[in-house]
Amino acid sequence: MAEIKSNAASVEFRGVTKIYGRSKVPAVNDISLHIEAGKLVTLLGPSGCGKTTTLRMIAGLEMATSGQILIGGADVTRLPATDRDVSMVFQSYALFPHMTVDENVRYGLRFSGFPKKEVIERARAGLELVGLSGYGDRLPSQLSGGQQQRVAVARALVLEPQVLLFDEPLSNLDAKLRRHVREEIRDIQQKLGLTVVYVTHDQEEALAVSDRIIVMNNAVIAQDGTPRDLYDAPANAFVADFIGEANIFPCTIESIENGVASVRLGALTISLPGRGGSTPGPAKLAVRPGRIVLHPAGAADTLPGTIQKATYVGSHLEFMIETEFGEAFVTAPDVDAPFKAGQTVGLGFPPRGPVLIGN
């Protein structure tokens, strides 16, 4: 009985840059990262930021212009895709339309030197793992989108690759299926202990599946951390705004003592954990809409503001509030809160609410 196992290995980039053809701007600019074996790591970022390029360099479909790529500790920088032990699930699935599901799943095994019997056994096990046991004889065109997706996963899994790559795997599925399939992918990854690198531009999807998220912007890494890190302590305005929403306020750091920064925001003074690189002087604060508490106007330790708009959206209330630092977006879980448009209020910042960010 063949079983699909995992040969999970780590992936490491050392100062990798990719410049396409005669283009002047790098698609990926001097990136260094380390992905531990057995983890699911997401590359997240807006369209065009270089996620796919990064992924394709792991696969060996693009060659790095400079820098070094290691898989499982071995240098594979110059190795073409064929010779790397990495499988990829494509956005379009890329099932071979002239081969049946079985033939598709066996395809890679045939080139890996397995004996014929084992090829058949493994392919069967692979299809079973994704729940498509009876579908071997069908052509890809006779499957639904979700099933095609699973065949593509099985085809990649049976090779027991060191690293499994997904490029926006859910973008061709309808909304309902997305949640289901992404959970399936996560389940299989955890069950087999695979190293998975997963590309998406959808922050919700990234937060839901990942052990770690690498946020990219403009060809560089904006931040690298666990979903919680990114949400609670975004390193810069871009990450703060890209993952969830955030209000950014200009502030001044007055002093830093024992890692606690004393920050002045208008007339307020707030104490916060200092971040790596913070120094006294002008800085920025990021505050999630749900981490601002509304008080009646003039309450102590609040920032004055005027409500421009109040919207009832069912589960909570949303406010646009004019402050001396521009508009702030605030949500309040209490739908019965007595605030109306036109009213003046005070914005309160509870502990663990605001976060200092770099520029």
Partner: protein, 758 residues
């Protein structure tokens, strides 16, 4: 991976090519005298010791042709890489060195030492006269040259060229080498020989005198003189034909797609006929209808009591014949373009309050411009290159292609004159080719999106539609008359004189009988017929092969110099057959490549003349196959050769079929290059037919043509069956999977892929 691939101590590709090279060097005859190439008679002919059939090794060991010795030594060098990995820098560098030095030496000795010792004066100056001579290269040399080439590409791949892919680098090297050898080299040699005077000297003044002579550029006809220069004649005719065929093509395309016309399939089928008809057959039919004893001429003369004239010979006849012959090509180009204009654009225009006519003029037509340019270019080049029609119909209206022919086969035998005329012809076609690319470069709109486009094309305004119907109807009836005439005339005793029905012509050409040796092919046409079939069947798969490989490189690979590569491979598309013919005669008549009078030269001329057909068919359908298919195959551990074999080729069946069919058809119908290259032993159908026409044996010529048309129809049908198509069951509607258009559909699919026989 749980199974690790065993790594042999010497790279398998290296072993393969080094062995091939050594076999060529040590076992096969180095020189290729006629029989050595296709038979093994050399085995009994004094091999391995006798000079003319000896392998290089034995020549060198006997102290002859010592300049071959370094090549043998170089072939052994790769074995020093025993135990080294491909990633070892020495591996690549050493192979590159072997390849470069080996090929350079190989070519130097080949071109430097010819039939009369040293070919170049400076070699004589350095080394004195060489008494030994060399013949054309044979199997041994071919294998050694190939081996050196692929050792070089392996070395380049090992050093990381094109992502380190052996197959891709090897293919690029192969295509460059063959295109260089069989397209660029002959053309360059032709250019060189244009400078040579009758006495064998080089002279620029004689060259310019010939180049700018009145014969070519005279404008006598404008000032009342009898004739204009041939260059002007050709240009004038080609522009007219280009414009008319483009307009007609557009008319037909509009009729099929935008008038609710229900017999589009019939029309498409009809367009196949002229494509499988040797172009000059149309010219013949024109003579039968409008010539001195032509049907219509006679009827007209009788009705109005006037003398029948030879009015059709010359510009009018050529114009009619070429328009008939090349309109289908324009149609096939235009229909692709007309269908490609996304209906949603036109619908958008209509919702913006443009009426049908305004929509057509402001949106549809501008979007079709690239297609119009393409169709014009094809018509222009075809007309320029057409040889058969001017030969049978030209009268006193001389054009470049026939002029070239008479310069080389006529009493004058003036190779330089032929080369100069070919140069002018090449200048026109390349000029048009370049102008079109330049123009298109600025105005190419890709309107065919990957997504399925709902919506239908709006119909033409009624008045316009009726004009379209009228023109198309007239053309269709005329075409039918032409074909009926051909068929009927093949059964008539002597057209215009004696209309009694007979099968004499068929008997004379295709009689078969039994004698003591079995089946006896008695008819006079059999010999050329079988030769043509053989050559066409050999060259079709080779053409398709090299065309598809080239298409694969163009569509799927990125490498430095790709644009130049593309330009080079598509160039032969703009080189008229006549030019290829002349340049082959000039280039391949002497060592190191001595091919005139063989069947190989015919095959080669077909391969490299028709290569763009294969490339275009391949590019068209390969762009339909999503690139992620190859990439997923690569990440699944297949190498690029396996990917090409298992994923791309199976999906390319329609393109393969199209390429096979077109290269076969063109090999059967071509005349312009062939007429220079045929020999007594290898005569081709077309040149045989033209020969009969020149002898006024119209009956046989026409019967033979009818048989050719029938045979081609049959062969196309059979190829269709053999290549077949596995239904991959794509739902046609689901547009987001870009590989949906892969079912066999002929000939509409390979639309831009063809140009007529010329």
């Amino acid at each position: 991976m749980s199974v690790t691939k065993r790594t042999p101590s010497l790279h398998p590709t290296l072993v393969l090519w080094a062995t091939v090279g050594l076999v060529g060097y040590c076992l096969l005859p180095w020189y290729g005298l006629r029989d050595n190439f296709f038979t093994f008679s050399w085995l009994l002919d004094g091999w391995p010791l006798k000079g003319s059939v000896a392998p290089a090794l034995f020549l060198v060991l006997q102290g002859e042709k010592l300049w071959l010795a370094p090549i043998g030594i170089l072939l052994l060098v790769p074995f020093f890489l025993w135990g080294r990995k491909k990633t070892d820098p020495l591996f690549g560098s050493l192979l590159i060195a072997v390849g470069v030095v080996g090929l350079a030496w190989f070519l130097l000795q080949g071109f430097g030492i010819g039939l009369r010792g040293f070919s170049w004066e400076w070699l004589k100056a350095i080394f004195g006269d060489l008494k030994i001579r060399q013949f054309g290269m044979g199997w041994g040399a071919v294998l050694v040259g190939t081996a050196l080439l692929f050792l070089l590409t392996l070395g380049l791949a090992a050093r990381g060229a094109v992502g380190g892919d052996e197959f891709v680098v090897g293919s690029i090297g192969f295509v460059i080498a063959t295109v260089g050898l069989f397209i660029f080299m002959p053309i360059l040699q032709m250019l060189a020989s244009a400078l040579v005077t009758q006495d064998g000297d080089y002279s620029l003044s004689v060259f310019f005198q010939k180049l700018f002579s009145d014969r070519l550029w005279g404008i006598g006809c404008l000032t009342g003189g009898p004739r204009c220069g041939v260059a002007w004649n050709s240009l004038f005719l080609a522009v007219l034909v280009g414009v008319i065929t483009t307009l007609l093509g557009l008319v037909f395309a509009l009729m099929v797609t935008r008038t609710g016309f229900r017999y589009g399939a019939v029309l498409r089928a009809l367009t196949v006929l002229p494509i499988i008809t040797p172009p000059f057959v149309i010219g013949l039919a024109i003579i039968l209808l409008f010539g001195l004893s032509g049907f219509f001429t006679q009827a007209f003369a009788e009705l109005f009591g006037v003398q029948p004239t030879r009015w059709v010979y010359g510009l009018p006849g050529l114009l009619i014949a070429q328009t008939l012959a090349f309109t289908p090509i324009a149609f096939l180009v235009m229909i692709g373009v007309v269908e490609g204009v996304s209906p949603s654009m036109e619908e958008a225009a209509q919702t913006l309050r443009a009426n049908r006519w305004q929509t057509f003029v402001t949106v549809s037509l501008p979007l079709m411009r690239p297609g119009l340019a393409n169709a014009f270019l094809l018509g222009f080049i075809e007309s320029m290159a057409d040889f058969g029609n001017p030969l049978v119909l030209g009268g006193n209206f001389d054009v470049l292609s026939t002029e070239i022919f008479f310069a080389i086969v006529g009493a004058q035998y003036d190779q330089a004159q032929a080369a100069i005329l070919a140069l002018v012809l090449l200048f026109f076609t390349l000029g048009a080719f370049y102008a079109q690319r330049f123009w298109l470069g600025k105005k190419s709109y890709t309107t065919v999106s990957g997504k399925g486009d709902a919506g239908v094309h709006p119909h033409l305004p009624p008045a316009f539609r009726n004009t379209v119907y009228g023109v198309a109807g007239f053309w269709t009836i005329f075409t039918l008359i032409i074909y009926v005439t051909i068929f009927y005339a093949s059964f008539v005793k002597l057209w215009g004189v004696d209309f009694t029905l007979t099968v004499d012509h068929y008997v004379k050409a295709f009689a078969v009988s039994w004698n003591e040796f079995g089946l006896h092919w008695r008819g006079s046409a059999w010999s050329s017929f079988w030769t043509t079939m053989e050559i066409a069947l050999i060259s079709a798969p080779l053409t398709a092969g090299i065309g598809l490989i080239t298409a694969y490189l163009l569509v799927r690979q990125d490498f430095a110099g790709k644009q130049a590569f593309e330009f080079g491979t598509m160039l032969s598309f703009a080189i008229p057959g006549t030019v290829i013919g002349v340049s082959y005669v000039i280039a391949f008549n002497v060592p190191p490549i001595e091919l005139t009078g063989t069947g190989i030269i015919l095959v080669l001329s077909f391969i490299f003349r028709n290569m763009p057909v294969g490339v275009r068919a391949g590019v068209a359908s390969m762009s339909q196959i999503d690139r992620s298919l190859d990439e997923s195959s690569l990440t699944l551990g297949a190498n690029s050769w396996q990917t090409f074999r298992k994923v791309i080729l199976p999906l390319l069946r329609p393109a393969i079929l199209a390429a096979l069919v077109y290269s076969f058809v063109r090999a059967m119908t071509a005349i312009s290059a062939v007429i220079f290259l045929v020999s007594a032993q290898y005569d081709m159908s077309t040149s045989y037919i033209v020969g009969r026409v020149e002898n006024n044996e119209y009956g046989i010529a026409i019967a033979y043509s009818a048989v050719l048309i029938a045979v081609m129809l049959a062969v196309i049908g059979i190829m269709q069956l053999i290549v077949g198509s596995r239904d991959i069951g794509r739902r046609r509607e689901d547009g987001n999977l870009s590989q949906s258009r892969t079912n066999v559909d002929l000939p509409g699919r390979g639309q831009p892929a063809l140009t007529g026989g010329g």
